[in-house]
C-alpha cells in the first residue's frame, strides 16, 4: 500500500532536506524499513530494541497508532512521526 511519510525536521539531515517521502508499506515497521533503506540511519533514529523509541509516536491519518511498528496500514495514508505528549 502506498503512503506519504512526513519527515520531522530533526531527521531531515538524513533525507537531504526532503520533507515528504512516498513509500510502499503494509505496517509502520515496513515504513521504517523502507525509510532506512533509502536514508540509512533513519531506523536508529526512530526505533530502539525493535520498538518505536520512547517519546516518539506515529500518527496515521492524524490518529495516533496504538500498535507501534506492528500497526497495519490497510489503506493509503499520511504518516507522521511526532513527539509523544503528556497531559495532566
Amino acid at each position: 500500500m502506498h503512503h506519504e511519510v512526513w519527515i520531522p525536521p530533526v531527521h531531515r539531515d538524513l533525507t537531504g532536506g526532503v520533507e515528504r517521502v512516498q513509500v510502499e508499506a503494509a505496517t509502520v515497521g515496513d515504513v521504517v524499513a523502507a525509510l532506512d533503506a533509502r536514508y540509512p540511519g533513519m531506523a536508529a533514529r526512530l526505533t530502539q530494541d525493535g520498538r518505536l523509541r520512547p517519546g516518539i509516536a506515529v500518527a496515521v491519518d492524524g490518529v495516533i497508532a496504538t500498535r507501534g511498528l506492528r500497526q497495519r496500514l490497510p489503506t493509503p495514508g499520511e504518516i507522521h512521526f511526532i513527539p509523544a505528549l503528556a497531559g495532566g
Binding site: P9, V10, A59, V63, H80, L85, A86, G87, G88
Partner: protein, 752 residues
C-alpha cells in the same frame, strides 16, 4: 430560537455525584486515613542544599534511637540502569526516577530526599531524622534555564548529553534536548508581513497546588507481596513504577487507590511508595505510612516548569498571519522531562500557519523534577503567543476576536507538528465568545481593561477497562479503575445508564485497585470521560446483548425476535423492563470491556476577562471572567462547568501571584500556602461559562476532554486586559503587584 430535543435521557442531566455525601461528611477515606495493625510512621530527610555531593551518610545514631525500626538510603534501592518506562501518558528514565526518590551520589535540589525513617510514631521518626548525619560537599547551583545553558554553567548530571535535533552531543551539558517543528518558508512569510511583532517572555515555576499532600502506606509481606495504598492518578502506573524500581515482578505489587484530593498531573510520578515499601521490608514486614507536609509537597514534588519563550509573528494588513516563529526554553528541574514538547504543540495550535518554526529546549536546573500540570506547558506558551497575537490585532486595528477568526484552524488544517485536525470547534467557540454579552458590555472606570485569549489542548485516549454486574434488583455494579478526580464516577455511570436505558441512580460505581479490574491508564490528559466512558459504552452493549439472550430464553423465543430500547425488552407484544428481567435471571450477568480508543478530539477555549489595576500598589483585581470552550457533548454539564471554572481559577493564580522564590543559595523560601499565594474565593468573581458542544465524531456520545484547556488562556487574557487598563505589555509571570509597578515605571521611563 428552539433547541432541538436531546436524544439522551441521562446524558446532559445534572445528577448528584455518588461520592458526594462521603466527601462532604468527611467519611471518604483518603490516604492519610489509612491505618493498619502494627503500622509504623515514616519521615523523609531532605537536602538543605540546592546542589551538593553526598560524601557520607551515617544513620547509626538514628537507628539506635528507641522506637526507630528502619532507616533507608539510596544504598537500599536496587541498582537501576538506563531504562525508559512508559507511564501511559509520558515516559521516564527509571534511573533518574530512582535517583529522585533517594539521592544517590548528589542532591540536585533543595528538598531532594536523602534518607527515610520508620518509627513507632511520627515524633520519634522526626527526632530520628535529626540524628542522621550527612556530609555534603556543596557545589555551585543554577536555577534558571537560560543560565543553565551557558557554557560555564554548573553541570547537574555528568552523563547528560544533548539530543540535538536527533543527534547525540558529545559534551557534558544541562540541555537534555533540542527539537524543532518546521513547515514552509519562514523568511518568505515574514517578508510578506505588513506588521511584525517579536517579544520575549519569562514565566515562573508554579505548583499544581492540590489540597491533599502526597501519601503512601505500604506493607511488604513475608511472602514478598507488596501492598500499597496511596493517593494517585493511576494505580496501574504506580504498580508498574514500583515493580521496575524495586526490581520485583509486577504480579507481586498490588496498589489500592484511596480517594484523591486533587492531582492536576502532579500525582502521576511516584515519590513515597517505594520508600514506604523498602522501610516495611526492613522493619520486619510491618506496614509503614508516609505523609508529606505542605512544605515537602512544595519543595520536592510537582512543580511545572518555569520558562523563557521568544515569539515572533507577522501578519498582512488584511489580518492574515503570514509567519510564526517561537523558541521555548523550559526548566525540567533536576532531571530531564519538562513539558516543552507539549508547549511547542500548543503555542500556535489555534492558527492556520503555512510558514512556521518552533524550537524547544529541555533544560535541567537545580529545582524539583517537573511533573505534569494541567495542559502541561500550555499556559506558559500561550501567555507568550496570545500576547503577540493581541498586539498584532491592535497594530492592524482589527478586533481581537475577529483577528483570531480570520486565522482560526478548522478541519483539514495542519498542526504545527504536521497532522491534520479532524472535526474541531475553535471557530464556533470564537463566535460564542464574540456573541456573549460580556464581550460588548460597557467597561468604564479608570485603569480598567478587557482582554481575550484563546487556548488549546490535545486531549488523550489511553487504555481503559471496566466491568459491570447486574444485580437482582435491577441495579448495576460498575467496577472501574480510573481515579475519580473531577466527578468521573458520575460521568462514567451516566454513560453506562444511557447505554442500558436505565436510571443513573441504578448504577453503583466503584473505583478499585490493580487487583480488581483490567488495566487503566492514569486519569490525566483529559481522557477519563472519553476513554473510560467508551469502555462502559462497550460494557453496556455487551450487557444488553446478554440480557437480550436471557429475555429470549425466558420467552422461549429466538434472540433475533427480541428487541431492546430505552431499557425495555420486547417480543411479540410482551415487554419487560431491565429491572423486571434482572429479577428473573437464573445465572448472573456480568460484562467487561477493555478499550484503547485514539479518536479523541482536541479542545479549544476562548476566555474574556475584565481587570482593574490599582496603579498605586500594582494589585490586579479580576472584575468579570467568562470562559467559552468547545467541550464536545457535555455528559454532566455542571461538572464540565466546574472544570472550566477550576482551570480558570488555577490560571488566574498562575497569572497573578504564584511563583517559587529561592534565596541566593538555592533554598526555597516560600514552601507554605501562606507564602506561595494561590487564589482564594476572595480573589475571584463568579466565572461564567459557555459550553460550546461540537460533538466529537470519534466517540459514541460525542465526548471531548475538557479539563485541561481552561488553564491555558487565563494568563494571556489577563495580560491583554492589563495592557488595555494601563497601556503596558506584561512579559513576565506572575504579574504580581511588584512586577506591575516595575513595568509601569519602565514604561514611563521609556524602557518598556
Amino acid at each position: 430560537m428552539t433547541t432541538p430535543a436531546s436524544p439522551y435521557k441521562v446524558i446532559g442531566s445534572r445528577p448528584l455525584r455518588p461520592d458526594g455525601v462521603d466527601k462532604v461528611t468527611g467519611r471518604a477515606v483518603y490516604g492519610a486515613d489509612v491505618r493498619l495493625p502494627g503500622m509504623l510512621y515514616g519521615k523523609v530527610l531532605r537536602s538543605p542544599h540546592a546542589h551538593a555531593r553526598i560524601v557520607a551518610i551515617d544513620v547509626s545514631a538514628a537507628l539506635a534511637l528507641r522506637g526507630v525500626r528502619a532507616v533507608v538510603t539510596a544504598q537500599d534501592m536496587p541498582a537501576i540502569g538506563d531504562k525508559i518506562a512508559d507511564l501511559g501518558e509520558s515516559s521516564v528514565n527509571l534511573r533518574y526516577t530512582s535517583n529522585n526518590l533517594l539521592a544517590h551520589d548528589k542532591v540536585l535540589y533543595y528538598g531532594h530526599a536523602v534518607a527515610a525513617v520508620a518509627a513507632e510514631n511520627i515524633h520519634i521518626a522526626e527526632e530520628a531524622l535529626a540524628l542522621i548525619e550527612v556530609e555534603y560537599e556543596v557545589l555551585p547551583h543554577v536555577l534558571d534555564g537560560k543560565a543553565a545553558m551557558a557554557p560555564d554553567a554548573p553541570i547537574l548530571l555528568d552523563d547528560l548529553r544533548t539530543n540535538e535535533l536527533g543527534k547525540r552531543g558529545d559534551c557534558p551539558t544541562n540541555v537534555a534536548e533540542h527539537f524543532r517543528h518546521q513547515r514552509g518558508d519562514l523568511a518568505q512569510g515574514f517578508a510578506e508581513a505588513d506588521v511584525i511583532v517579536e517579544r520575549t517572555f519569562h514565566t515562573a515555576t508554579v505548583h499544581q497546588g492540590y489540597i491533599e499532600p502526597q501519601n503512601a502506606t505500604a506493607l511488604w509481606n513475608e511472602d514478598d507481596q507488596v501492598l500499597v495504598w496511596c493517593s494517585t492518578q493511576g494505580a496501574f502506573s504506580v504498580q508498574e513504577q514500583l515493580a521496575e524500581l524495586l526490581q520485583i515482578p509486577l504480579s507481586r505489587v498490588t496498589v489500592t487507590p484511596t480517594e484523591i484530593g486533587g492531582g492536576f498531573g502532579g500525582k502521576i510520578n511516584i515519590y513515597l511508595e517505594p520508600l514506604a515499601a523498602l522501610l516495611s521490608r526492613k522493619a520486619g514486614h510491618r506496614p509503614v505510612k508516609l505523609v508529606m507536609t505542605r512544605a515537602e509537597v512544595l519543595a520536592a514534588t510537582g512543580p511545572t516548569s518555569g520558562s523563557h519563550i521568544r515569539v515572533k509573528m507577522g501578519a498582512r494588513r488584511d489580518g492574515v498571519i503570514t509567519a510564526a516563529e517561537a523558541e521555548l526554553i523550559y526548566e525540567a528541574g533536576a532531571y530531564p522531562g519538562s513539558p516543552v514538547g507539549a508547549g511547542s504543540g500548543v503555542i500556535f495550535a489555534p492558527y492556520r500557519l503555512n510558514n512556521v518554526q518552533v524550537d524547544g529546549y529541555d533544560v535541567v536546573v537545580n529545582r524539583p523534577k517537573a511533573a505534569a500540570y494541567r495542559a502541561p506547558g500550555g499556559t506558559n506558551a500561550v501567555f507568550a503567543a496570545e500576547t503577540v497575537v493581541d498586539e498584532l490585532a491592535e497594530k492592524l486595528g482589527i478586533d481581537p476576536i475577529e483577528f483570531r477568526l480570520r486565522n482560526a484552524v478548522r478541519e483539514g488544517d495542519r498542526r504545527v507538528d504536521g497532522p491534520e485536525y479532524k472535526r474541531i470547534g475553535f471557530i464556533e467557540t470564537l463566535e460564542a465568545a464574540r456573541n456573549h454579552p460580556h464581550y460588548t458590555a460597557p467597561l468604564t472606570g479608570k485603569h480598567r481593561g478587557r482582554g481575550v485569549a484563546a487556548g488549546f489542548w490535545f486531549n488523550w485516549g489511553g487504555k481503559s477497562s471496566a466491568t459491570a454486574t447486574v444485580n437482582a434488583d435491577g441495579t448495576v455494579n460498575l467496577i472501574e479503575g480510573s481515579t475519580d478526580i473531577g466527578g468521573s464516577r458520575a460521568s462514567i455511570a451516566m454513560q453506562l445508564a444511557e447505554t442500558l436505558g436505565i436510571p443513573y441512580e441504578d448504577i453503583r460505581p466503584q473505583v478499585v485497585g490493580t487487583a480488581s479490574v483490567g488495566y487503566n491508564d492514569v486519569t490525566g490528559g483529559s481522557r477519563t470521560t472519553f476513554g473510560t466512558g467508551w469502555a462502559v459504552y462497550e460494557v453496556g452493549q455487551k450487557l444488553l446483548e446478554e440480557m437480550r439472550v436471557r429475555a429470549a430464553d425466558y420467552w422461549d423465543a429466538p434472540v433475533e425476535a427480541v428487541s431492546v430500547a430505552n431499557g425495555v425488552f420486547t417480543h411479540n407484544g410482551d415487554a419487560m423492563t431491565f429491572r423486571e428481567l434482572a429479577s428473573k435471571l437464573d445465572v448472573p450477568v456480568t460484562a467487561s470491556a477493555s478499550v484503547h480508543p485514539q479518536s479523541y478530539g482536541p479542545g479549544f477555549g476562548v476566555h474574556i476577562v475584565d481587570v482593574e489595576v490599582d496603579v498605586e500598589t500594582g494589585k490586579v483585581s479580576i472584575l468579570r471572567y467568562t470562559a467559552a470552550q468547545d467541550v464536545g457533548k457535555a455528559i454532566h454539564p455542571s461538572y464540565v462547568e466546574g472544570q472550566l471554572q477550576g482551570g480558570a481559577a488555577q490560571g488566574i493564580g498562575w497569572a497573578l501571584n504564584e511563583e517559587y522564590v529561592y534565596d541566593d543559595q538555592g533554598r526555597l523560601l516560600n514552601a507554605s500556602l501562606l507564602d506561595y499565594r494561590m487564589p482564594t474565593a476572595l480573589d475571584l468573581p463568579m466565572i461564567d461559562t459557555v459550553l460550546v458542544e461540537v460533538h466529537n465524531p470519534g466517540h459514541p456520545y460525542g465526548v471531548r476532554g475538557v479539563g485541561e484547556v481552561p488553564i491555558v488562556p487565563p494568563a494571556a487574557a489577563i495580560a491583554n486586559a492589563i495592557y488595555r487598563a494601563i497601556g503596558v505589555r506584561m512579559t513576565e509571570l506572575p504579574m504580581s503587584p511588584a512586577r506591575i509597578i516595575a513595568a509601569m515605571e519602565m514604561s514611563r521611563s521609556g524602557q518598556g
